[in-house]
């Protein structure tokens, strides 16, 4: 019998993971330090959030904000875990907790110029070698050649 997923506030408090909580239009968001992400996700998974639905990054201008979207099918509930890491930093892979992170992590690392730690296959997913991290704000949508040709 799987425990019913509860609010991430209660789960993370019991697991002793330091976290700040906010309720956005997005939903319930727990902001945790980058080093505690795996512990937080593990605690949430044990409490009934069976599935990692989505993982993405945002270039905020100061850092990269990573967001994990978790869902509990048994309790029909969703929650978000969020952390901020510096540009070019290393992301610790969470695939041992949620294997569904395997490809989204590769994609995020590649498109934001991050490195992956502990990933079984940390290759690029979508682009070839030499393509800059496309989703960084400083990477222009057109290359210099394309701008000149216009």
């Amino acid at each position: 019998m799987r425990p019913d997923a509860r609010s991430s506030r209660a789960v993370l408090k019991r697991a002793g993971v330091p976290a700040d909580f906010e309720t956005l239009a997005l939903g319930e968001v727990a902001r945790v330090p980058a080093a505690d992400v795996i512990a937080a996700l593990k605690a949430l998974k044990d409490s009934g959030y069976e599935s990692l639905i989505d993982f993405d990054g945002i270039d905020t201008g100061d850092d990269i904000t990573l967001t994990w979207r978790l869902r509990s099918y048994s309790a029909d509930r969703e929650t978000y875990v969020r952390t901020s890491v510096a540009y070019g930093a290393e992301i610790a892979s969470v695939w041992n907790v949620y294997p569904s992170a395997l490809m989204p992590e590769r994609e995020t690392a590649e498109l934001f110029g991050m490195r992956l730690a502990g990933h079984p296959n940390p290759k690029r997913l979508l682009t070839t070698d030499g393509v800059p991290p496309l989703l960084l704000k400083e990477v222009p949508i057109r290359t210099e050649e394309e701008v000149k040709a216009r």
């Binding site: 945002i58 907790v97 949620y98």
Partner: protein, 401 residues
């Protein structure tokens, strides 16, 4: 040595990248079972990106021991257009055109996801008629998309007839969608606030005529392919994704419901006209390719049922809310998801108050399905690989984005 990886004479896939296989979590099979320990030479086969059975530009690197697959690695990115980056430079009502090119077989769903996200951020009240029109187009599109899957899945098993009949029916739907939206595939129909145009005069007759014949045709389709003993032999018990595995790999849509998990975004996170309609969610039990086949066939029947209700009960009123030409949602972020033909298509939209998104993330269900394919294929034969890829109904336009 017990690990079959260590007995590989030609390292092949395992030499790519720098990786330590790690300890897989319980229930996740990375090292295949059923491989004999004879030191036969392993071959690495490049399947795709131009292989007819990979449904698009999917490339599978398959390491085989004889006929048996030892490891498979999915290689995507041949269709990468940078939709997420391009969206950051488009106004909100123009993102739909990008989404059409994401999952290009069922474009309405992607458009609807973006429209929902923008509407929720701006708190736009969408007229009831617009919601019904969106659902109508979406369900027509779902049948068209499932028919493409049905036809090509049969082609994978060597059947030809069902493909021709499926395309015949899809043609009828595309004609209807062309009349409604002006386009056959790249619709750009659902926009923030509603839909771009009202139904053309006389189209309801055409839709009713389609619904009347489609139920019979669907029985015929199923009899032609599902009733075929060869087909059954090739899909039953193949590619089992049980609920645990489906959760682990983040599967959604028919791939999840095939494992018996009752989760449909249309029921659990209702949007558009779905709460007002009477329909059921088809479920599988074992989670093999046959269950996924049956779930999708059931979905087509339910969609036809919904279309009939939608066309009978279309409310009076405006087809779009009054929205400004240039949309400027307040700064914030939102996640909107819809049930597309392949699962949960989600849009994570971050705005800063400007007229373009600050960041738009497109959650594509197919990318998660491909991770499950990597896991279920080892231990099967090459011919079964084709069935497993086909049964998960992946769409490469949305994995690559």
């Amino acid at each position: 040595m017990s690990d079959p990886r260590t007995t590989v004479t030609t390292p092949g896939l395992l030499a790519e990248g720098t990786h330590d296989p790690g300890t897989p979590p319980a229930g996740i099979k990375r090292a295949p079972t059923g491989v004999d320990h004879l030191a036969t030479e392993h071959l690495v086969i490049n399947m795709g990106p131009q292989h007819p059975s990979t449904h698009g530009v999917l490339r599978l690197l398959i390491e085989v021991d004889g006929e048996e697959v030892v490891t498979v690695e999915v290689s995507v990115g041949y269709l990468h257009r940078g939709i997420e980056k391009l969206a950051e430079h488009r106004r909100f009502n123009a993102i739909g055109t990008l989404m059409d090119r994401g999952d290009y077989v069922s474009g309405i769903h992607g458009e609807t996801a973006v429209a929902l996200a923008v509407e929720r951020l701006m708190e736009i009240e969408v007229p009831r008629k617009a919601q019904w029109l969106r659902s109508l187009a979406a369900e027509l599109n779902r049948i068209a998309s499932h028919l493409v899957w049905f036809g090509t899945f049969g082609l994978d098993t060597g059947g030809m007839g069902q493909f021709l009949y499926a395309m015949r029916d899809r043609e009828a739907i595309l004609d209807i969608l062309e009349a409604i939206t002006g386009q056959r595939m790249m619709f750009n129909y659902a926009r923030p606030g509603g839909v771009v145009a009202d139904l053309p005069v006389g189209i309801d007759e055409k839709i009713r005529a389609f619904c009347d014949t489609f139920d019979t045709y669907l029985d015929e389709h199923h009899a032609l392919l599902g009733g075929n003993e060869i087909f059954q032999g090739r899909v039953k018990g193949i590619g089992i994704i049980d609920a645990e595995k489906a959760f682990a790999f983040g599967l959604t849509g028919a791939n999840l419901r095939g494992a018996g998990v009752d989760f449909d975004v249309r029921k659990k996170r209702p949007y558009d006209a779905y709460p007002e309609l009477d329909w059921e969610v088809p479920l599988g039990s074992a989670g093999d390719a046959w269950d996924r086949y049956m779930v999708r066939m059931g979905e087509m029947r339910q969609s036809a049922r919904m279309i009939r209700q939608l066309i009978d009960g279309i409310p009076e009123g405006e087809h779009t809310a009054k929205v400004p030409k240039v949309l400027r949602p307040p700064a914030g972020e939102i996640y909107a998801c819809v049930e597309s033909s392949r699962g949960e298509t989600g849009i994570h939209l971050v705005t800063d108050g400007g007229d373009t998104p600050y960041r738009m993330h497109y959650r594509a269900p197919s990318i998660f399905a491909l991770q499950a394919v990597e896991d279920i294929v080892p231990g099967h034969l090459i011919a079964d690989t084709v069935m497993m890829v086909g049964s998960t109904d992946v769409m490469l336009g949305e994995t690559d984005r």
